[in-house]
Symmetry: C2
Subunit: 424 residues, 2 copies
């Protein structure tokens, strides 16, 4: 009994993508970090316990970011008049090089963790740089902030600036060592991170694929973000049927794999993604900023592809996942109206919200972290209390308050952040 906590409030979640579920004036019964039940009244057996009344506003599942580059947090917004490959060369790689310096990492990464927390992103899957020591500092910063995260040391053994290039052997050895150091911790876990095919040799990708199988490690990379990159990959690896088949040939696709962007996939590639149960991570903000294109998300949803959502900072310009939710809806509208012959459909706000909570949560669930992402019995109690302090004259329904927060709110409206029952 002593571990039970009660929260009263207006709860909104999306156990399914089709619509928001609103439960007003409900009581969440939380035990040992998990939701026991969401009831209309405090059950008799808990009547002696105090109830934390969250009063006005709404309570929603906390956000999850499935694709974000921690070292790029300092460059948000910079140089976005450029395309992907120029932007990497002029902004991203010089910025990442600085993380060879561990003192710099110790200064910068706590700011990243603080910003994730501020924006209500309590779980994330994060890229570091090629530097194992700095990336360990990143993991420690996330852990210290009380957040849950998968953290990856990036691998690049070719087509990268000299100071961001490893030998194939170093890349592999450092990756295994990094993953072993992060194994068995509570808040942070390792994820293998070959950056993307152009900057990895086939040998490195194959070895990482084998390591993933041997140590049962998840893996993340980028897939088909721009046409010029996809063209480059087909020149670098003429022996593979497609960009997606290349990753499959190297053993990089599976239920523990996250592939970001996936804008220019053929039907055959999407079939392979479905078959391998790989998750595609939609990053609308970044795709617009770098003029990459728009992933046909509605089509992927309807075909049963496993999907997630990422901020992709720094090509995305905000860590706020509520902004990524809105961007998801927005780009789907534009894809529909600007490509009328392709019969795209609009993605609704509830579908986009689902991705940022339940959809992304499924990756954590699959990786053995226990269920999360909605207010269902047995799920980790991960919640944000949102209160926009609206004047009574404009009293809004719970759902309209959430809509307004997603579109027009900011971190100041997040009044409480709870992860696995623990207020951060």
């Amino acid at each position: 009994m002593s571990l039970v906590t009660l929260y009263k409030g207006h709860f909104i979640d999306t156990p399914t993508p089709g619509k928001f579920r609103v439960r007003e004036d409900a009581v969440a019964i939380v035990e040992a970090g998990k939701l026991l039940a969401l009831e209309k009244e405090v059950p008799a057996r808990f009547s002696s316990l105090p109830v934390t009344d969250l009063g006005a506003g709404v309570v929603i599942p906390s956000f999850i970011d499935l694709h974000v580059h921690a070292p790029q947090h300092m460059q948000m917004g910079a140089g976005l008049d450029l395309g992907l490959l120029d932007w990497l060369e002029h902004h991203t790689f010089p910025g990442e090089s600085r993380f060879a310096d561990e003192d710099y990492a110790r200064k910068i990464y706590p700011l990243f963790a603080a910003e994730l927390l501020r924006q209500g992103t309590l779980r994330s899957v994060v890229y570091g740089t090629i530097h194992p020591e700095s990336t360990l500092i990143l993991a420690q910063a996330l852990e210290k902030a009380g957040l849950f995260a998968f953290v990856g040391k990036v691998n690049m053994d070719r087509n990268a600036p000299d100071d961001l290039k490893e030998t194939t052997e170093d890349a592999f050895r450092d990756s295994e060592l990094f993953c072993r150091k992060l194994t068995g911790r509570d808040g942070v876990r390792p994820i293998l991170t070959p950056r993307f095919a152009p900057s990895c040799s086939k040998k490195l990708m194959e070895k990482l694929g084998q390591l993933s199988g041997r140590l049962n490690l998840p893996l993340q990379s980028h897939l088909s973000e721009t046409l010029s990159e996809a063209q480059w990959v087909s020149e670098l690896f003429p022996e593979s049927r497609s960009y997606t088949h290349l990753y499959n040939d190297c053993g990089l696709l599976g239920p523990g794999s996250l592939m970001a962007h996936a804008i220019y996939l053929s039907d055959g590639e999407i079939d392979l993604i479905v078959e391998r149960e790989t998750t595609l991570v939609h990053c609308p903000g970044a795709n617009v900023n770098l003029s990459s294109g728009i992933m046909p998300l509605g089509r992927c949803l309807d075909r049963g592809v496993k999907l997630g959502l990422g901020s992709d900072v720094g090509a995305g310009h905000t860590l706020a996942m509520y902004r990524a939710v809105v961007q998801t809806v927005q780009v789907s509208k534009l894809l529909r109206i600007l490509k009328p012959r392709e019969n795209h459909r609009t993605v609704s706000l509830s579908e986009a919200f689902y991705l940022a909570t339940m959809g992304n949560g499924e990756f954590f669930t699959r990786q053995g972290w226990g269920p999360c992402g909605a207010f269902e019995p047995g799920m980790s109690f991960d919640a944000l209390h949102i209160d926009m302090g609206l004047p009574q004259a404009a009293a809004l329904s719970a759902l309209t308050q959430l809509e307004r927060f997603l579109y027009a709110g900011d971190d100041r409206d997040i009044k409480a952040r709870i992860l696995a029952g623990r207020e951060l």
Copy 2:
């Protein structure tokens, strides 16, 4: 001498759209609200005066919003899964009806003015509702906040809910009376505001056109925001060659006219807009949210159309014009890549920033308010001091700081707001 104030800082503006002008460690000499000069050093004759050192960060012209609906401020983000006409019926019109109650207006409009100020939008062109008394309360709220604005009482004499419909005679009489009451004030001025052709009879539009000429009043409306609306207008007014020609036939186009959206204009309509020296107001946020389409802004810029930028709250979901700047760049990128055969070009960040400052300022200049929108000698000294408080380890150039603010900053980074030399 006593009226001279000196500010030291890193000044960035866009006297021309093509690029940002950066003047670091410069001194602005401000006299009677106007910029005398921007110098590298304090001139000898002012050496006895104190210098306000704005230190870190950058100083930019304050923002101007050329299209915003004050009564819709309370509905930002609500119902944006709908299209224009449904959204009007289910969200906007019920919200506007409440302003029949002046007590409600007295509660809500000061919040709108405060939010404009908070976001650094120190000049704006604002829609009220059809209610003259409430719209006067809006004007007073803006004036009290120290802002400069054109304020319009909306006219609708058909195709509107009963409680938002006026007779043609009432609409005309109330408009003239409203404009006379607002004439001769310092901070707020009147603008005629027929909502859009579907909700105005031809007789009303013609009478407002004549009034505009007789009293030398500016005028604002909506033009060709969606395909279904444009189709409706062609059915309502079969005698006019086009939507744009209809407004011209009614005497609504001229150098003092603002037409918002203008997405679906033919080449002939654009020619007419150029010939009549009318300003088109781009509202990218709203156009995306309501799936309206994307105005071919790059093409309009290159054809010499007078252009401005608007938040279009509540179809737009933020009053922050720095967000509208970014949205402008973003939708131009999407239009280019999703419509490759139409040869659209990307609009650069400096061009979009130009619209939100100099471009919009030209409307105020033309309407006799004196020049504004950049840091040129003789211009009104309208400025924002932006400081994102970035850690020294990530020291950024002045221009990169501005890029980061536009993309990733918020009102908390605006440390000072100065309008006509007066700190608000």
